[in-house]
Amino acid sequence: MRGVNDPSETRADDDVLSVHFGRSANCSSIGSVVDVLFVSGVVGTAMLASVAVLLGGAREADADADPDAGATPEARGDAHRATSGDVANDAAARGRDGDAPP
């Protein structure tokens, strides 16, 4: 018998460990977006690094006024595919540029 051995245990403490994209609207089982698994050139660690950068940006942006405050994300037209794809594309670029963390 052996416990769940999580590869993320080796990640640094200031890292993004995982990103679960989208809203799971199914009422009976958890759903996970898989498109990003099949985007050519994307590697997981590069994607996580991109999200870490974006989170840092979000932290700084929170200090500024939000012109869309009050509108729901859905009303502002956020598209799951397009936005998660943006992160993936950024990660792909990092991977191609050799910017992926070890």
């Binding site: 018998m1 460990l17 840092g56």
Partner: protein
């Protein structure tokens, strides 16, 4: 990327974002830069994501009724037209408890949840508590006015398994036109609409055509679901489940769907063993992208219509009938104390059994590279096809390969309905 809310965890924090909507798990140092302090949770070394359970569920599946007139032949909830339905105040109290325990999202279901006239008010209450509400519906009873009231939901998923005869084959009634009308009405009302598609032996060959059709209807997402032997779904499970060849083709099919359609493609937790066994992805990417296997009791909680907690919506137990009797006709006195659901998350024996199994996986799961995400496959399938749910998922390709050498020497599992195909 905008941070909506963050919750401390032993490894750091879970951060809910929008643009894109996501749940991001971060380490302690990054959590601190985002303004999160873990206090005693951060004593000692970080366990990483390998925690037995999070501090509370991130996602909760809330059954708001056991009523449904559709009569689907494979209904996992065994819903009927006269099923139990808890009063508004009782469901509202459950939402209060779920917000208090730190949940991020609630997915309403049933039965046919959308036939509750007060469902939008329940969703509005969830919103007010900081929970992101979604709902799954067959589309029954949808009107333009009702669709407009559903704008309160972050997303509505409509069950749609394929063209008319395919849909009828999966669910046993002619529901495709109803689903498509509902999708159109919701789209016209500006509600993001996804589609729930159950994979069966008959529907799988048409999956790419179904995806194209759902995309043409304006669905933003295709949620693929593994058929579960739960409720009425047990009756003809072996005849309807994917065959070994379809399971082997699953990963490549998924890759084609993802790269040829604009709608987002999701798989449910029970499909992860099929993806893992396909050779189309890596354990590191599956983990990094948050593609989840069995999260029952770790990040997922289900709340039955009678208010009882369960590790997932498919889990059946004898306690259910007791709860139903206790609730019947007692609209003024909810039987769910404010602390019952938080206490269940901490102490419930069944949730504990799920967590214990996932922490001590047997072979071949123990040596599987995907174990951190897969967490042993589907307990519902294992329990229905074998002698115990605390065993490897018998339909996982890796488990089948592991079992095959001594298949003839092993005791035959208890069949639920024979179609002549070995169950392991």
């Amino acid at each position: 990327m905008k941070v909506l809310r963050a919750r401390p965890e032993r490894f750091g924090a879970i951060v809910a974002t929008e643009a894109p909507p996501a749940l991001v798990s971060v380490g302690r140092a990054l959590a601190r830069t985002l303004g999160v302090e873990g206090g005693a949770l951060w004593d000692g070394p970080s366990p990483g994501l390998a925690v037995e359970a999070l501090t509370g569920p991130t996602e909760v599946h809330v059954a708001v009724t056991e009523r449904c007139p559709a009569g689907c032949t494979s209904c996992y909830a065994d819903a009927t037209p006269t099923g139990f339905e808890p009063p508004f105040a009782e469901v509202r109290a459950r939402l209060d408890a779920l917000a208090a325990v730190g949940a991020f999202s609630v997915a309403f279901g049933g039965g046919e949840a959308a036939l509750r006239d007060d469902l939008p008010e329940l969703a509005a209450h969830a919103r007010a508590l900081g929970l992101v509400p979604t709902v799954t519906t067959s589309g029954l009873g949808m009107t333009a006015a009702r669709a407009a009231r559903f704008r309160v939901f972050a997303q509505v998923n409509v069950s749609h398994d394929g063209a008319a005869e395919i849909y009828r084959g999966v669910r046993g009634y002619d529901g495709a036109p109803i689903a498509e009308r509902a999708i159109a009405l919701l789209r016209e009302a500006g509600v993001p609409v996804g589609a729930n598609t159950v994979l069966t032996r008959a529907s799988f060959p048409h999956l790419e055509a179904t995806a194209a059709h759902l995309e043409s209807l304006g669905c933003v997402e295709l949620q693929l679901l593994r058929l579960k032997p739960s409720g009425r779904g047990r009756l003809d499970y072996l005849a309807k489940r994917l065959d070994a060849g379809q399971i082997a083709a699953f990963g490549a099919t998924l890759a084609r769907l993802s790269t040829t359609h604009r709608l987002a493609v999701r798989i449910d937790c029970a499909l992860l063993p099929f993806l893992a066994g396909s050779g189309t992805t890596t354990p590191a990417d599956v983990l990094a992208y948050g593609v989840m296997g069995c999260e029952a009791g770790r990040s997922l909680l289900a709340v039955r219509a009678d208010g009882r907690a369960a590790p997932c919506s498919f889990w059946e137990s004898d306690a259910r009938a007791v709860g139903r009797e206790a609730n019947a006709g007692d609209a003024a006195a909810p039987t769910t104390p404010d602390d019952a659901l938080p206490r269940a998350w901490r102490e419930d024996a069944t949730l504990g059994a799920f967590r214990g199994y996932q922490q001590s996986l047997p072979e071949p799961c123990a040596s599987c590279e995907f174990r951190a995400s897969c967490r042993g496959g589907c307990r519902i399938v294992a329990g229905a096809l074998g002698a115990s749910p605390w065993a490897p998922d018998p339909e996982c390709p890796r488990v089948r390969a592991h079992a095959r050498p001594d298949l003839d020497a092993r005791p035959r599992p208890r069949p639920i309905h024979s179609d002549g195909e070995p169950t392991t």
